[in-house]
Symmetry: C2
């Protein structure tokens, strides 16, 4: 086994790259291993930075974590843009939530009441008021919410910026699959790769998304793949322009979102299915996305369908991510971000940097300590 | 200008390649020019060989032409397979036509009556009888027709076989765009290419599909692009198997078809739009195809969506193709096959071979003489 003193990061998605960049800024020698860097869930993602419109009664810790991270996003994007020499892709136009039928409107009302009780009031709007803000919304939209602080990011611009910043900070990104984290029962020794090679390291950070659970016994059963299908559209000449804001909606109980890109593109997402490690785009998934999105923004019928893809979100048992130490000494984890990897990247990167320094993590990250799940694994 | 005595064929789609192969079999030295061989409408096509289920009152000449060509198909496929050393992709499982609502069933009844009057009776079936033949048909299918003589071909296998047969017969397929056919007012002189080169030839055959109209003034306005969008699906493990037969349907007045492939694939087509030279796949087109096809074969919801594409059918003013001499001496045309290029390839190839020999064309091809359209162009 080669002896090195590097921090090995397993996974070059948004979380792995963010943590690698932050660690390198702190003087660590960082190597990132990924069989296909920046190609997984982070590549497929829609890019919503939307803690408030993702809020759900009973998930107050996740809301607090998301609010803390979205607060960090503008500074993170500016710093990353400078470090990479290219924009991080942040859009600050805010988010609308739209509802069609009465059941969907009742759901939004419950969300608004819930957020009000948490001291985060949101503005309720009629269909007419929503269309005044975004003329692309169709006549079936009967009401909704305005949440200007829920933002969005162009996930592919972000990944490119993170790779650029990592490169400039001296991070080595290696196209290679890690198979398992090695330890002696007390301390991490390194990583064995799928090709049989063993890399020594005293510290290993697992950021392998839905694949994290297979990389060390201490992680088994803590992360599961949650498939999401997504479509990418492009406005065509003569078509009705897309909304400026991110538009989320409930259509007959099914959530759908439309995230605009600076180039006139529009990302439609996302289905949700727990079917193992399957990234097939299904006819039924595409049908659902197009039908539901068209109810909200009818003009997309004339848009070009330029891409369909599926990714695997890393789901955790309680929908909170896993950020902290776990198992043998030297093993850190930052995964399980489920639908919120883009959103939670800044706060996760800062938390991992703090852990590597031996400092306490930012307050809301404490709820993400993997220790909470010991004994709960399935 | 280089002087050659070759037959220049403009267009390497199914018609151009078939004619080139036939001409080479007759001893002609054949060069085919195409900026992107075998990539246009022929590549996108569904591959139905379906004159009867395409029949429409008032288009009896097209029906006769199609019936003549489908009769030639098994021999053509066998000969082509031998010549190419690979299968031509013919499937002989026949075709069902399915209808859902009462309006759609009335349309099919009218088609059945029409075909009966023409002496081509078709079998009418109830929904239950249809499902006995093809269990993949859904409960919304209330009635339809069985047309065992309407066949199908794997268009991409066919193109590969035609290229192979052309190559073995000495046909030169050149990746180069023709710009215009040159003549001296009386006779063809050759072709000027988009790159400025001029190729001399005493005989030029225009098989450039929707692009044919721009290649010589005698063809202006005779062919127009008719856009069609198509999806390719693949069965996944555990999904309900696809039908064996080609299934055509009317769904609330919209035609849709599902053409099975030998590998478990299924081609869904096709939208129809006259929007110029536009091959964008639209969200609305995909939505229509998925929605309508799923009404007929519900199991496709679980299939993988593996490809979406659009092609430009070459439409003619009267829906009959243009096969024959036109304009200056030495200019031949075989285009305007609209939805029927795959179907009409055998009879078109035989007709062009006859024209090159100075023989009469097969009887039903006489109706396709472009002379009929002089004075009708738009």
């Amino acid at each position: 086994m080669n002896v090195t003193d590097e921090l090995l990061v397993l996974g070059a998605g948004v979380i792995g790259l963010t943590c690698a960049w932050r660690a390198a800024q702190d003087g660590h020698r960082v190597t990132v291993l990924d069989p296909a860097p920046a190609s997984g869930a982070s590549w497929v993602a829609g890019g919503m930075l939307a803690p408030v419109t993702e809020a759900w009664p009973g998930e107050e810790e996740l809301l607090a974590l998301g609010v803390e991270s979205v607060r960090r996003w503008p500074g993170f994007a500016a710093e990353l843009g400078d470090a990479a020499g290219r924009p991080a892709g942040l859009r600050t136009d805010g988010t609308l939530v739209a509802a069609t039928g009465s059941g969907d409107r009742a759901e939004l009302d419950a969300l608004a009441v819930h957020l009000g009780r948490l001291g985060r009031p949101v503005e309720r709007l009629t269909g007419r008021e929503l269309r005044r803000l975004e003329p692309a919304l169709g006549p079936d939209v009967r009401g909704g919410l305005s949440v200007p602080d829920d933002l969005a990011v162009d996930n592919r611009a972000l990944l490119a910026a993170l790779r650029g910043a990592c490169e400039r900070a001296g991070v080595l990104i290696v196209t290679r699959a890690a198979e398992t984290v090695l330890d002696d029962g007390a301390r991490v020794l390194g990583v064995r790769c799928a090709d049989g090679a063993e890399l020594a390291a005293a510290a290993v950070l697992v950021c392998a998304g839905a694949h994290s659970g297979g990389l060390h016994p201490a992680l088994h059963g803590l992360v599961r793949p949650v498939k999401g299908e997504i479509l990418r559209l492009a406005m065509r000449p003569g078509a009705f322009p897309p909304p400026r804001r991110t538009v989320r909606a409930l259509v007959d109980g099914r959530p759908v979102y439309l995230v605009p890109r600076d180039d006139g593109g529009l990302v439609l997402g996302a289905t949700q299915a727990e079917v193992g490690f399957d990234t097939t785009v299904t006819a039924g998934g595409v049908r659902d996305l197009l039908r539901d999105a068209e109810r909200i923004v009818p003009g997309i019928a004339e848009y070009a369908l330029v891409e369909s893809a599926a990714g695997l979100r890393p789901g955790s048992p309680d929908n909170l991510p896993l950020v902290g130490a776990v198992g043998p000494a030297g093993l850190l984890v930052a995964t399980g971000h489920h639908r919120n990897g883009m959103l939670l990247a800044p706060v996760t990167g800062d938390a991992v940097a703090a852990l590597l320094r031996g400092h306490p993590v930012p307050g809301p990250v404490r709820a993400a300590d993997p220790a909470r799940l010991v004994g709960t694994r399935r």
